[in-house]
Symmetry: C2
């Protein structure tokens, strides 16, 4: 199968040929000593020549990785375009993103290894335990929040943002429920407060606000109480 090509210590011209031949169909790995620069939404430089790893994907993903961290040191997200050339005998790679315009330029005076791989893509990929799963769990069984709760709307749009769940309690009070898949912080409380204040303007009775999350930070809980909002512990349980 032509799904793995590689060269050890290639001449720049040989590396260039492989890149141009495979860049739109294969994932390219380039290992060598290099310097690089980025300019676009921000700007930075890797001036020191040292061993780094370039990863290029056929969708235009471009990354320069170093020895630590999950994040690449420099990158362009897809869709970007790759242009390789040899300048003064040095393999030079340009990744250009159109909108916003961003350019990463890498010079690789020492190429230790280059490879072209064919990778697959998982279809119908699904992550369990997102915020949406918490929302659905509550909509399907509002009692996990409170007895007698009746869901009025899901993803209710307002001028100040979208409310995850709008409901009425057993006394007929409007209830705003803000859901989080992980620990709620101060921002979640401020969001909830904003929705409650907004709805209070055009509702005669009390409007309650409930933050539904697996946990809440202490500062967030402090604000919550200050604003007379409520917290309900809700685990983002996923089906086994």
């Amino acid at each position: 199968m032509g799904d793995l090509e590689y060269m050890i210590d290639p001449e720049p011209i040989e590396a260039l040929k492989l890149i141009n031949h495979r860049k739109t169909t294969h994932v390219l790995l380039i290992y060598g000593e290099m310097v690089a620069s980025y300019e676009g939404r921000a700007k930075s430089q890797l001036e020191e020549l040292m061993p780094r790893l370039i990863i290029s994907k056929p969708d235009g993903t471009f990354m320069v990785h170093e020895s630590s961290k999950r994040e690449p040191r420099l990158w362009n997200p897809p869709p970007s375009s790759l242009y390789a050339s040899i300048e003064q005998g040095i393999l030079t790679i340009r990744s250009v993103r159109a909108n916003p315009r961003e350019v990463v330029i890498v010079e690789v005076p020492i190429i230790r290894f280059i490879s072209a791989l064919r990778l697959g893509t998982t279809v119908n990929y699904r992550v369990f335990g997102r915020e949406e799963d918490v929302v659905n769990a509550i909509v399907n069984n509002p009692n996990i929040i409170e007895e007698g709760l009746q869901v009025v709307a899901k993803e209710y749009h307002t001028l100040v943002g979208d409310i995850d769940i709008l409901a009425r309690d057993s006394r007929g009070n409007l209830v705003v429920i803000e859901c989080k898949r992980s620990q709620a912080g101060p921002e979640a409380v401020h969001q909830l407060k904003r929705y409650v204040e907004h709805l209070s303007q055009r509702e005669n009775g009390t409007v309650r606000g409930i933050l539904a999350a697996p946990s809440i930070s202490s500062a967030a809980y402090h604000y919550l109480k200050l604003y007379s909002l409520e917290y309900r512990r809700v685990e983002p349980k996923w089906v086994v």
Copy 2:
């Protein structure tokens, strides 16, 4: 130099030896057909056997990449621990993160390629054009916001969050300045409104709020006007 080791179509036992020998010092690349699963803060599975690329770094970074997107399909951020073994003749790799506990398990029945590389790490890395750069530009020359503005504090901590810049205008009014490095959205306006409301409670005079950003979305501008806040265009210029 012992900075590049590789094997093509290795036996699982040979791959295992390389992994265990180099996992704490080198970046490992493993290309082959694999299935994988993740469980931790959320949960997901890659059930279909297909070619993927594993990248493991000595700090514990672990990634499973597919043919598109900048983000790995599965991963563990550093610090995580790597455990490799052979189970029923199949190379099996476990990446375990302690806190929060998260586990990625990859089975590689077909190993096409494995490599160990030594990469460097840039020291004193700096990105220009961050929010902090905008803040400093204003602190150094408040006139770019408004004539006669006097900066009172930078990173002023309040109960409802940190204010980028606190100042007084030429009439002695308190001014809250919220800075953004790129286009401001509704959240930035809500943030600013929160700070202004908070300070208004303990200030006799008017408290003004200014959003400083290179641009602002139309929806955000709408809120801004609604709340009687102000917008100043400020570019995150970096030195050439």
